[in-house]
Symmetry: C2
Subunit: 354 residues, 2 copies
């Protein structure tokens, strides 16, 4: 049985001690579900290894608190151990400290010690650390998007206690150059597909990426070759060369707009979309978000990498990352979290909700 009546740092340790490498979250999900079912003022749903809890207080606004239960494979770092004020162990930073903060808020609300100004939805999900097709939040967004409905989503992935708003979208295309194969001793009989890539690379090299303000945060875009391959043998004029281009786009652009832009950059080339993920607006111009920023303090910044906050983007829900973990320690054997950061995270959320 999970005891939520301890401080968030102690709860982090208890969560770390239940190993939950991606695909093996059932036991932890069971414990979380059982703990939340103890509070009659929360409605609980279980969907695979996803646990959803909700208040139904009739507030004008709703805020989602979301976090994943899984970790990367352990590295002789379970169970957790304290070293002074640092808690070491797999998931301390990524992101059982965030889950602990979520559960502490549920405990306070469940016990009537906190009367939140907004309705709340907790989403605790599986398989964030593996391929996107297994991601529990993505599955929920696909099968039951109403479960994600809110005016703001707070994903408690580690940000070292800062607010990182929204996230960039990302897409990849294959720019394919086709030539005519020939022996390199008779190169004039062929057309060199690698040479045909010269203007593609030149356009990328001279491309001026946008710097865009979205809802008060600044996003730096990027359009880059992340791969190139061509060549058959040392004596053959190659008939194919493929440049893989990654476009990181600000969340004012939809995936469709972003692809159209890439096609505009290469109007005379064969451009094939290979994968795409939407961005998410930070929504920091909304009142509920402004109140959250005021409660946390500090200056929010744009999220640059792609995270699960983007699951909310296509649903039109502003989303931010805010978690006590240090993202630079994620996935490392020496992963740890500072006790005070976890306590501060809980305190900031309580301030916001009070």
């Amino acid at each position: 049985m999970l005891d939520l009546d301890v401080d968030a740092a102690a709860l982090t340790a208890a969560l770390v001690d239940v190993e939950s490498v991606s695909g093996n979250e059932a036991r932890l999900a069971d414990l979380v579900e059982a703990a939340l079912r103890a509070y009659p003022n929360l409605t609980i749903e279980r969907d695979g290894n996803v646990v959803v809890a909700r208040t139904e207080l009739g507030r004008d606004e709703r805020v989602v608190l979301a976090g994943h239960l899984d970790t990367v494979p352990t590295a002789d770092n379970v169970p957790s151990r304290w070293d002074g004020d640092l808690l070491y162990g797999c998931g301390t930073s990524d992101m059982k400290s965030g889950v602990a903060v979520m559960l502490r808020v549920a405990h306070l609300v469940g016990r009537g010690e906190l009367d939140p100004r907004v309705d709340l939805t907790w989403i605790l999900y599986d398989c964030e650390e593996v391929e996107a097709s297994r991601n529990g939040l993505a599955r929920l967004a696909r099968t039951r998007p109403e479960a994600l409905a809110a005016d703001l989503a707070i994903v408690l992935e580690g940000t070292d206690g800062d607010i990182e708003g929204g996230c960039q979208g990302t897409l990849r295309v294959a720019v394919r150059l086709v030539g005519v194969r020939a022996h390199s001793a008779r190169s004039w009989l062929g057309t060199n597909a690698i040479h045909l890539a010269a203007p593609v690379l030149a356009r990328l090299a001279s491309y001026q990426p946008r710097v865009v303000d979205v809802d008060g945060l600044t996003y730096h875009e990027g359009l880059n070759a992340v791969g190139i391959s061509g060549g058959i043998a040392g004596n053959v004029i190659p008939d194919e060369c493929v440049v893989t281009v990654n476009y990181r786009f600000a969340p004012d652009r939809s995936e469709e707009d972003a692809l159209a832009h890439v096609r505009d950059v290469f109007p005379d080339f064969d451009v094939e979309l290979t994968d795409t993920s939407p961005g998410a607006r930070p929504g920091l111009d909304q009142p509920v978000a402004a109140e959250f920023v005021a409660a946390v303090g500090g200056v929010p910044r744009a999220k640059l990498g792609w995270t699960d906050v983007a699951r909310f983007g296509p649903l039109g829900i502003p989303a931010v990352n805010f978690g006590p973990g240090d993202p630079n320690l994620a996935h490392k054997p020496e992963e740890n979290v500072a006790r005070q950061k976890v306590l501060d995270g809980e305190a900031a959320l309580v301030r916001f909700l009070s």
Copy 2:
């Protein structure tokens, strides 16, 4: 026992029937050596699976006849079989028909039926169809270059009965672009090595290769990317991109001159030589070569691919390819040679030497 007192086409069939895939030439080399030792006016040397035979007639000039004994792996095409006037089997074209012509000339000289106007050296060698480090002719050129000494070398690789003079040199360089690795969501922190390849490809695309007359034959050069690789992952700005460039150069340039030229094309890039092979001049402006051309008839053309004639280039020996096989049939299961081509090859050499 190999019977050389048959026509060159029948002798080709006998040679094909002694399987001699690269590395397995010993039995055929034994048979060839024994057959040549029957003629007291030839001096015979055996060096591994290389057989060298020489006349010592005191002529002013010497001509080398060279051919390899090995074949690519068989493909259910040994023993040979006649279909009308076509002889099918592994090595019929590449190049036991050429070896048969060489041995027929040795037989005629050995029996005193042909009194050659020049001294002759026959070089029959192993491992032409595999990596250059095992090539028997290359080994002889390295360890006993005096064995190759001549005023003209005729390599009886298949040319469909035409004369193909000299050969282009070939070298490969790696042009290495070095950047700074970064996450593609923060691309401005990195330097994209693939983008740095843009001017390399642009120079290759706009490069104007030389067309050069050497000793009366026309050589078309070529400078081409034959490979490009770069990229670490779909979300990483790559810190390395390597373009492999192949320069095919006319035999008026040495390997050193050719490399210097490539460095001139890319003066501001990291250019590393990865492999190099010299060209060979055709020497068709020499009297002995002119007599050979007259005897064969037709119009000689430049050899475009790289062949073993180039083993003679660094020794200053003009060299030509002249063989009865059709090079387009080499290495194919349906490899074959026309009876008349083989007989014509022998007749042309006899005309030249008479």
